[in-house]
């Protein structure tokens, strides 16, 4: 259950978007793909879930070329949670998750007891039992994302691809979603925006810039101020997360600034701020 990109290059409308991508996500590992907007994260993921064909190189699933699989076979191996989280159509949560069974079913095949069991189990794994009979459209952003993960689970694939699954979510849901994903026991490749959050969950992080991999490896080695400046052109401070020791990024203002008291008052005292971690 490994996912490997081998010298992958992708063209869209005659323009090369990403090139020379080599990365491997091992069995049951959680890997993050990070990079500035427009660096090609989504393009790489879309190539993995077959929206774009590779122009060069290959996508390998346990050594098998993805393109040699039929669409349904591929969908039984890789499930995807995309950025889309709205459906204009009226589906309940259970109907939504049942759509995840699509690649397992033939033309006229009906939902069986097994399918319903798989769907209910998927809903339980993301803890959405209480929402099961609600309409998908009435859910909050975080709830929708959990349901879409349940749909991916019902697909029973051993690889999961997520395209910025925590976008637009509050901090509680960001952590909850990634915690759920990390606990699934499948091979995960996720494009993530929040680098500190990525460091908290990913075993390896791959940094992308202008369609090429800058570096890849454990968060502690990859998320350094130098690499962030190189990839994002941003100035950050990196500190250790007090719980995990993983890198935590603190953005810095471009304009020189003075220190501000947490309540918003003018800086009176500079020593012994109350919010420094003990």
């Amino acid at each position: 259950m490994s996912l490997r990109l081998d010298h992958l290059a992708v063209d869209i409308a005659g323009r090369r978007i990403v090139t020379g991508i080599d990365l491997t996500v091992g069995d049951h590992e959680f890997a993050g793909l990070v990079g500035p907007n427009g660096s090609g994260k989504s393009t790489i993921l879309k190539t993995i879930y077959r929206v774009h064909p590779p122009s060069a190189g290959r996508v390998l699933l346990d050594g098998t070329d993805l393109l040699s699989l039929r669409p349904k076979e591929a969908a039984r191996r890789i499930a995807v949670v995309t950025q889309e989280s709205t459906s204009e159509f009226d589906f309940t949560v259970r109907e939504m998750v049942m759509i995840g069974r699509t690649p397992h079913k033939g033309s006229f095949e009906r939902d069986t007891v097994t399918d319903r069991g798989i769907v209910d189990q998927a809903i339980e794994r993301v803890g959405c039992q209480q929402l099961a009979y609600r309409r998908f459209n009435t859910l909050s952003g975080g709830e929708k994302q959990l349901v879409l993960i349940a749909r991916a689970l019902a697909q029973e694939a051993d690889h999961l691809v997520l395209d910025e699954p925590t976008n637009h979510l509050d901090i509680h849901h960001q952590v909850e979603i990634l915690e759920v994903v990390a606990g699934l026991g499948v091979t995960v490749l996720a494009a993530l925006h929040d680098l500190s959050l990525a460091a908290l969950f990913c075993r390896d992080i791959y940094v992308l810039c202008a369609g090429q991999l800058v570096t890849g490896g454990p968060p502690g080695l990859v998320l350094t101020p130098e690499i962030i400046r190189q990839a994002y052109g941003a100035d950050v401070l990196v500190i250790e997360h007090p719980d995990t020791g993983t890198p935590h990024l603190i953005p810095r203002r471009v304009q020189p600034t003075t220190r501000v008291h947490p309540t918003g008052d003018a800086p009176a005292r500079s020593a012994a701020q109350p919010d420094t971690p003990a």
């Binding site: 969908a75 889309e84 309540t263």
Partner: protein
């Protein structure tokens, strides 16, 4: 006063924040989940109405509307008399009485044709709305009706296909519909298949072009023929006969078999093209097939009945309100409900201003437009879903 307020602002803001920090730090590792989703138990089951029940009710509705569709008219008949004649006709020996001829020769083919066309337009509408993911889409979006108008107008005004006799209009409109369909298909096709936005825009633009061709033909034609064109454009089942039935019925049957086989993939496509691809759907091929199937259904329907608006737009929305958006439920329900809707519309068209006959397009618009507006205003609404 003002200064006090200014100073009070940040202080008040700060106070709860200071209290909140130790609170949150206290039970670390056990953050409270969002309300409503924390319980790990299942709620009481709230399934949708079973499909068999919905279909049974809709089938009963169809039988009733068809019975009244045949019974009511300038010569009123009792439902019993109607079924007596129908039973005799099905057994192979239609009655030669007045009632027998009215039912078997005139009203029954008309009601059946209305049912088939209603079912076809509803099905085509349901599918087009998924194909372009737009609630405003109807089967005529893809240029079918405007192309058919050009063909039919050419027949009526210029005498094209005169050698085909009564079939001339049907042939003309089918050819027009096919030509328009092919034009929309070719123009909107791009490197990545049929993209919804291109499809909508090309359909609308080419429809406008074909409509102006129709206008030009009318402008050049003679006034008497112009009236029959106008009547055809508004739709009617007034010329229905048994030999018009087989082609639309067969088209509907073939399309339904294909579409029911695609029930799951239609649901996946309703999620959007990329999620559908990730669910193992060959989106490009599916869209092309859906385009062909719906255009053919709409084209054949137009050929036998003229352009009957609103059915393909409104009825799918009503159906989704009843059964939800799962296409394995929407499609069969839509066939029965759309058929009933059209039979009822035709019944009104020929009784409201009897002995004259109203174009059915007027009736369906008069029923359809207010219905849809009521549905839309009742709650924030989209494709049968609420926000």
């Amino acid at each position: 006063m003002h200064e006090d307020d200014d100073r009070a602002g940040p202080a008040e803001l700060a106070a709860p924040r200071d209290e909140a920090i130790p609170q949150a730090a206290g039970p670390a590792g056990a953050p409270a989940g969002p309300p409503g989703r924390t319980s790990s138990s299942w709620p009481a089951r709230r399934e949708r109405t079973p499909l068999t029940l919905v279909l049974a009710v809709c089938a009963a509705l169809l039988v009733v509307t068809m019975t009244f569709g045949v019974a009511i008219g300038s010569v009123p008949l009792s439902p019993v008399a109607v079924w007596h004649v129908v039973a005799g006709g099905l057994a192979g020996h239609p009655e030669n009485t007045v009632a027998g001829i009215i039912v078997w020769q005139i009203r029954l083919p008309r009601v059946l044709l209305a049912a088939v066309v209603g079912a076809a337009l509803t099905t085509a509408g349901s599918v087009v709305q998924v194909l372009v993911r737009n609630a405003l889409a109807d089967p005529f979006l893809l240029g079918v009706s405007s192309g058919a108008s050009v063909g039919a107008t050419a027949v009526l005004l210029l005498g094209a296909f005169a050698s085909l006799g009564v079939w001339a209009i049907s042939v003309g409109s089918v050819l027009g519909a096919l030509a328009a369909m092919a034009a929309v298909f070719l123009v909107s096709r791009s490197g990545r298949g049929l993209a919804p936005t291109q499809l909508i825009l090309c359909g609308v633009v080419l429809s406008a072009l074909f409509e102006s061709v129709t206008s030009f033909l009318i402008f050049r034609g003679n006034p008497q023929a112009t009236q029959s064109v106008l009547f055809w454009l508004l739709g009617s089942f007034g010329l229905a006969s048994w030999n018009q039935l087989p082609i639309p019925a067969a088209a509907l049957a073939v399309a339904m078999i294909y579409l029911l086989a695609q029930g799951r993939t239609l649901n996946a496509l309703a999620m959007g093209a990329e999620p559908a691809a990730s669910l193992g759907v060959d989106v490009r091929r599916l869209r092309r097939n859906l385009f062909l199937v719906t255009s053919l259904m709409a084209g054949v329907a137009v050929a036998v009945s003229g352009i009957i608006g609103f059915v393909g737009l409104v009825v799918p929305h009503i159906v989704r309100l009843i059964v939800g958006s799962d296409h394995r439920r929407v499609l069969p329900t839509g066939v029965l409900f759309g058929a009933s809707f059209m039979v009822l519309g035709d019944l009104l068209a020929r009784t409201i201003v009897a002995p004259q006959e109203m174009p059915i397009g007027v009736i369906t618009a008069f029923i359809g437009a207010p219905t849809l507006i009521v549905l839309i205003r009742r709650r924030p609404y989209l494709y049968g879903a609420t926000q």
